[in-house]
């Protein structure tokens, strides 16, 4: 793909808000990981789920960012996405204090946003009313939140972004697949800039489902993304957007190019057994990464570090590391979900935001294979879906 300029980064995560919070976390990943899981959870409360370890966006006050009006019926994901969008647009110098600064107009900026389970919380809320009371009592003002693209729709309304708005739902791979969406629409000049990324939030039903599937490391069980003795994942949440533009035009408007999107690859590999659905595929990992490298016109040796999708879920981590080993020879592999937990589309979007900070000088981490490079120019970010789908993106300086 033709390189695209990343001119802004906005993120909302258990590490804090904004790109600076990410940078600080990578300065001391151990302390950041500890902090991320240390707060008093509001969703998976200690009283109800004493065994749970979760990384919420601690102390998030929507009023501080959105004012105190107009967002009463937004769900948590919508609020996170709006704040991530606001931060990315400000970081890129497109907007300030809610106003467009003039270099780009509302008609020029679009959204390519992903979520894996974004509407689950609202669907559950309304299903509880419908099942325990009466379907006639469901709140019509909350009903729109049950539609998957509602959150990105609200972002467009709140931030007044009138260029194309696309939502992508590919499980864990959505945020990286949003890069393809952005690249496609920029190439066709359907917009001049896109917010690219996505998010997911912790919900009680999602936790219960993953616990029922044996995916959660509860109580004293160990969750260590990328480690052979990990016993499961810890849930996290968050949202991140990159502001992405065609490079020549970004430069022409005087934007600071923080990093570049260089390549995208994706692959799907079904399980051998017909009856199976969940599938960890090392061959899909290798194909997706090779595809991204080829799309970027680079070789594996040009990559300084891989920002992996390792979450602590052993079969998937194992397949990913094995697939990466087919492509790379000793290249450092980081597993940053140790810092924010498994947040699906949010995690992959945070991965891309992290890659930008690494390219700008932060130290990649935590590194689970090889050693962190002293200088980072090129990063491969991966996402591994639960059904055999894998996507990968190349970012470079």
């Amino acid at each position: 793909m033709r390189p695209l300029a990343i001119t802004g980064v906005g993120q909302v995560s258990p590490l804090g808000l904004g790109v600076e919070a990410l940078r600080e976390a990578f300065a001391d990943p151990e302390a950041a990981a500890k902090r991320a899981f240390e707060g008093e959870p509001e969703v998976l409360t200690r009283e109800k789920f004493p065994e749970a370890h979760s990384a919420e966006v601690w102390g998030f006050d929507p009023n501080a960012h959105l004012g105190d009006k107009g967002h009463r019926n937004f769900d948590r994901l919508t609020k996170y996405l709006i704040v991530a969008a606001k931060l990315a647009l400000e970081d890129a110098g497109v907007k300030k204090d809610g106003k467009f600064l003039g270099a780009l107009t509302p008609e020029q900026v679009g959204i390519c946003s992903s979520t894996a389970y974004g509407s689950l919380d609202s669907i559950t809320e309304l299903n509880l009313v419908a099942e325990l009371e009466d379907p006639r009592y469901i709140n019509p003002a909350r009903f729109p939140n049950t539609v998957i693209n509602a959150a990105a729709g609200y972002v467009s309304i709140w931030e007044d972004l009138r260029a194309p708005n696309a939502t992508i739902v590919d499980g864990n791979c959505g945020a990286l697949d949003a890069v393809l969406s952005c690249e496609t629409h920029l190439a066709h000049r359907r917009a001049d800039a896109f917010l690219v990324g996505g998010g997911d939030v912790i919900t009680e039903v999602l936790y219960l489902a993953l616990r029922r599937l044996g995916a959660i490391a509860g109580g004293s069980a160990k969750s260590a993304p990328g480690a052979r003795d990990s016993q499961g994942l810890h849930l996290g949440e968050g949202a991140a957007y990159l502001l992405v533009e065609r490079e020549a035009e970004a430069k022409a408007r005087g934007a600071r190019v923080r990093a570049r999107l260089r390549g995208y690859g994706t692959a799907f590999d079904p399980p051998k057994r017909q009856a199976r659905l969940l599938h960890a595929s090392s061959s899909a990992v290798a194909r997706a990464v090779r595809g991204a490298l080829s799309d970027a016109g680079i070789e594996a040796k040009d990559v300084d570090v891989v920002c992996s999708a390792a979450s602590g879920l052993r079969p998937f981590d194992g397949a990913e590391l094995s697939g990466l080993a087919e492509v790379f020879d000793g290249t450092a592999i980081a597993a940053p979900k140790a810092l924010w937990g498994e947040s699906f589309s949010g995690a992959a979007a945070l991965g891309m935001a992290s890659a930008v900070t690494w390219i700008e000088g932060a130290t990649p981490g935590p590194v689970v294979v090889g050693e962190a490079p002293s200088k980072v120019e090129t990063v491969v970010v991966t996402s591994v879906g639960y059904y055999g789908n894998v996507s990968a993106v190349v970012l470079s300086s």
Binding site: I123, V147, L208, N389
Partner: protein, 417 residues
């Protein structure tokens, strides 16, 4: 690079399975609306829907396949298999990395989630069967289709509410033009689900009896369900295998209202932009458009704004406009994919299917509705409108093969990947 053609179409609808019976019913003006039997509507003030009746998953797949998926995925696999057969393609022809699968939806496997949540709510966590949990993922829609053919490249789900079909078809065509795929299985799928149905009732959007797009006395939409999958192929592939294309996919337009989550922009700004882009990116002018298959939901707000948008772009021209939602209901994410079949068949046959239940012209909807009876017309270029929830606007242009200029729908010069 080059042209992208539709070579096969598969349909699961309230009017039958496969493009032939579906098209025959549309041309006859038959209604697929009936009382909803999928769940109990006795405590709701509405009970109609464009329900798919008599669908047996194992007519289209093995028992083993059917067991691993919900109704929504089963619709899409069935539609995809019919589309492949229609295109004269075997599973082997669609296997491999060069086949993209791009599927649109609004709610995906909503009934799988509904059943899981019912068990959880009424009987507790232990009643939820772990084996059923993985069947919920929305991303499974393209994955089940990919597995049916051994496709191993791109699998993407685009949930763009009621514009999802157009989003998917347009995006899949883009991927063929940019060289990321040679062939695509693309379309959309939706099922009628209890919570969604109740939600639309609570929004006051549902008609108690008829869906009457553009009629002065229209009372709202009626939910429908179904799936359409298309086979899109690059020109080079079509020529190589000697296939006969059904239609060409032209350019498409996307825009966002950024106005209100459920209501259209009062001036139709996003819709105007999307329609203009679809025309321009197809290398055409408004005068070249022969017919519009409208979004036409039958709600007061949508139809008035859509009519205003059409007038804004096409002026007083007698441009025939129809909405097949009058017959199949509003199939949400699937609707624009279902309508794409009508567009292509109109191009093929020169017959425009009617908007049934059209009784009283509305001065607020000054468009030339193909009222109640099919119309014969020379149609070479058609626009398919989708104006969706969340302010998502998507319009796709379809044309008879060879009718569009070279370079249609291609990326801007110097910016292609």
């Amino acid at each position: 690079m080059g042209r992208v053609f539709i070579t096969g179409m598969g349909v699961v609808s309230s009017l039958g399975f496969g493009r032939k019976p579906y098209w025959e019913a549309l041309v006859e003006g038959r209604s697929g609306i009936s009382e909803v039997s999928l769940f109990d509507t006795s405590n709701l003030p509405r009970n109609l829907g464009g329900e798919v009746k008599g669908f047996v998953a194992t007519d289209f797949m093995s028992e083993q396949e059917a067991r691993r998926m919900g109704r929504c995925s089963a619709f899409s696999v069935a539609a995809a298999r019919m589309a492949a057969e229609d295109a004269g393609l075997t599973e082997k022809d669609l296997a491999g990395e060069r086949t993209a699968v791009v599927v649109g939806t609004t709610m995906g496997e909503a009934n799988v989630l509904g059943e899981l949540q019912q068990a959880w709510i009424h009987e507790g966590t232990e009643a939820v069967r772990p084996a059923k949990l993985p069947r919920y993922g929305t991303t499974l829609l393209p994955i089940h289709v990919a597995r049916a053919f051994g496709a191993s490249g791109m699998v993407q789900t685009l949930p763009a509410a009621c514009a999802a079909g157009n989003y998917a078809i347009g995006f899949a065509a883009d991927q063929i033009r940019s060289g990321r795929a040679d062939v695509a299985i693309t379309g959309a799928v939706e099922i009628i689900e209890k919570l969604e149905y109740a939600g639309f009732v609570r929004l006051g959007a549902m008609s108690p009896d008829l869906c009457q797009p553009f009629d002065q006395n229209r009372k709202g939409l009626i939910l429908g369900e179904g799936s359409t999958m298309l086979i899109l192929e690059s020109e080079e592939r079509v020529v190589r295998r000697g296939a006969t294309p059904l239609a060409e996919v032209g350019g498409y337009g996307l825009a966002c209202d950024a106005h209100h989550i459920t209501r259209p922009h009062p001036e139709g700004e996003g819709s105007i932009s999307a329609m203009r882009q679809a025309i321009q990116s197809s290398g055409l002018t408004p005068d070249d458009v022969d017919h519009i298959n409208a979004h036409g939901t039958g709600t007061a707000a949508n139809d008035a704004i859509e009519a205003k948008v059409i007038r804004e772009i096409f002026g007083d021209r007698e441009l025939p406009v129809t909405s097949i939602k009058s017959m199949i209901g509003h199939c949400m994410g699937a609707s624009s994919a279902m309508e794409s079949v009508a567009c292509v068949m109109t191009l093929q046959t020169g017959i425009i299917p009617p908007t049934i239940n059209y009784e009283t012209p509305d001065p607020d909807c000054p468009v030339h509705v193909v009222a109640n009876e099919k119309r014969e017309a020379k149609v070479d270029v058609v626009l398919n409108n989708a104006l969706a929830f969340g302010g998502y606007d998507a319009v796709v242009c379809f044309a008879n093969p060879g009718r569009l200029p070279e370079g249609t729908g291609e990326a801007a010069e110097g910016e292609a990947s």
